[in-house]
Symmetry: C2
Subunit: 349 residues, 2 copies
DNA sequence: CGTTAGCACTCAAATGCATTGAGTGCTAAA
DNA sequence: TTTAGCACTCAATGCATTTGAGTGCTAACG
């Protein structure tokens, strides 16, 4: 028997009322309150009966016997899936989002940072952005520049969208012709190769072919590996952690600390975002639905962003389980959409 | 009359006992406790009398009339200036610091991040690092590389120690000779010029001289300005904010939030570090000695780090006024010293 | 038969009050 | 000058009481 078969329309409206009210007040909601505040045309007694049913089937729970009800995990889940209507974002806000992103269009890092900031400000929760990684990303160019008798600058240009540099010490200075030769050789071997194909083995092969320059090359190629890895590490940008402290459920420092710990472990957050990216659609993870123990008191709304129909990253908002889902879902969806559009302009180059 | 004239040796020892005890327990200290825990050879009554004197002259205060004493701001100041002995750091720790820094020696950003992390871990407070900026920094090289028909990569190499890149859109593709010409011209004008001298006026002048390429140059030079500014913004790296939540004085979320707000405003922290760098020596700022209102419940220990005798940056630790000054001062001094040494190896190139 | 009113019941939170204990200042004795 | 003794203060603690919002159950109502 599906659990939802028990859910008639009136129960739905009551669950909605309880959830809406609890989301905005953070106080358990009683039957009287609902009868007063929401015009359902039924008496507190009837509401009590319905609430008892809802509790029995697991959508509501009582912190203690003589308190009002609050939504359970299952209740939030039902609310998110079948009840709430995502709240439209005002045109003005929409415009502001777009404008702020446009302004930062120049550099990829800045766009992701700005996105995180926008999300945090709009949602009033903590926000994070997984930087765009493209499976199709290719090494566009690899350049060595002698900047000093003993220093070579390695420049990696990756398409779509980022540039990394690294300084390498060399023992002897290379002549310009030598450098030019190495450059053109490296580019002939590596240009337009997908990053995923560039591994230690390929690089070793190249080093062997150019072994007269092994001196420079070893360090250089090691740097290449590092740079490509380093990018992965850096992939998550966070903002708005402070907002966590505004939430009444985190008034006790203990619980706040658990959330901060959660945010500090990059793995957890980035894993979640990667999952969302792969899933390819907006996701709402409520409390213990996530395996992570510190997540039990939190929910996360996350969405991938898409360029040319391919998800290349994801964004997310983390708040208490009592999260303003309707609004946050709308915001996350909207921001993800704008971000995708902006990036598609930037990355198609 | 100097306030210190009243401070005989016994008073000093009592102030030390009170401060040490309060620093480790976070509880107001009474005369009995001191008599028991510290072997001063005097009775609680005597201690009471001395404490009354110390309170009168402003070194101690009472949270309420029937509680023990805690050090006042002035008390901490005296403790820091005249009483405490900075606590040696174990050789093992010393070695670990050095090794961790050595590992990250490759890239400047990584060194500052690692430094912040080390400081936070050792001190158990929040830590920050002002990235090295050298007044003597010069633009070592400015290179334009065509990476795509419509994209030019601007590379800035600054000595000492960092590289920035930026992508610029161009309307038409430049021929290699043209690019080479621009490159060599720009380098002839800008190479080895101190960053502080590179302003809008100089760049405008150059743009005028090369006005046949104004198309590319405008965007490029604008990017140069942005990059040099952007570096300033990014200058402070922070770590260990979570440690703040461990401190009993921040158990109330309100006060924790004030500190987080403080840390979130980059200006405050970076201003403080810049001051320290300019001052050229270790500084301890206690509570309201700082003008910033949210600092009243905090203290900061900060020290410049020095390359070739010149302070080029600063590091700092922020904790509650009840900070473990002796230990933190030792740590900050030590880390600053190691950082300076590591950087001098990196930057002299 | 679903809905509502009434009522007894529950329990967290707030309130009031006495107790405890760590701490103080003052005074007088050592 | 130091210390012992003593009266005093006051935050914190514990405990009983009250309050009030909320519930479940039952019986009456349309």
């Amino acid at each position: 028997m599906s659990p939802y078969s028990l859910m008639d329309d009136r129960k739905k409206r009551i669950l909605q009322a309880v959830t809406d009210d609890y989301i905005s007040t953070a106080e358990p909601v009683g039957s009287r309150t609902i009868a007063r505040r929401y015009d359902l045309g039924i008496s507190p007694a009837t509401i009590r009966n319905e609430m008892a049913d809802l509790e029995e089937s697991g959508y509501l729970e009582q912190p203690h016997i003589s308190a009002g009800r609050i939504p359970s995990q299952k209740g939030y889940r039902f609310y998110v899936d079948f009840i709430m209507q995502t709240k439209g974002v005002s045109d003005e806000e929409r415009l502001r989002i777009r404008r702020r992103l446009e302004e930062r269009k120049r550099e990829l890092d800045l766009v992701t940072e700005e996105t995180a900031r926008i999300l945090a400000q709009l949602s009033n929760y903590a926000a994070f952005v997984l930087s765009p990684v493209s499976r199709a990303a290719v090494l566009k160019r690899l350049e060595l520049v002698q900047v000093d008798p003993q220093l070579v600058l390695v420049i990696l240009v990756v398409d779509p969208g980022f540039v990394r540099t690294h300084l390498v010490m060399t023992e002897r200075q290379l002549k310009p012709e030598q450098l030019a030769y190495i450059n053109s050789y490296l580019n002939s071997r590596l240009r337009d190769i997908p990053l995923s194909k560039i591994g230690v083995s390929l690089l070793k092969e190249i080093a062997a072919e150019l072994k007269e320059y092994s001196n420079v090359l070893e360090a250089t190629l090691e740097a290449v590996v590092q740079l490509l890895e380093h990018r992965q590490e850096e992939a998550v940008v966070t903002d708005g952690q402070i907002n966590i402290l505004e939430q009444p459920e985190f008034r006790e420092v203990e619980s706040a600390k658990r959330v901060f710990d959660l945010l500090a472990e990059d793995d957890t957050v980035s894993g979640l975002l990667v999952d969302t990216m792969n899933a390819g659609s907006i996701r709402v993870v409520i409390g213990r639905e996530s395996p992570h123990p510190n997540m039990d008191i939190c929910s996360v709304v996350s969405a991938p962003y898409v360029v040319d129909g391919v998800p290349i990253g994801a964004i997310g908002v983390l708040g208490p389980t009592r999260m303003h889902y309707a609004r946050v879902v709308a915001i996350v969806e909207l921001v993800a959409c704008h971000l995708g559009e902006i990036l598609s302009k930037m990355l198609v180059m």
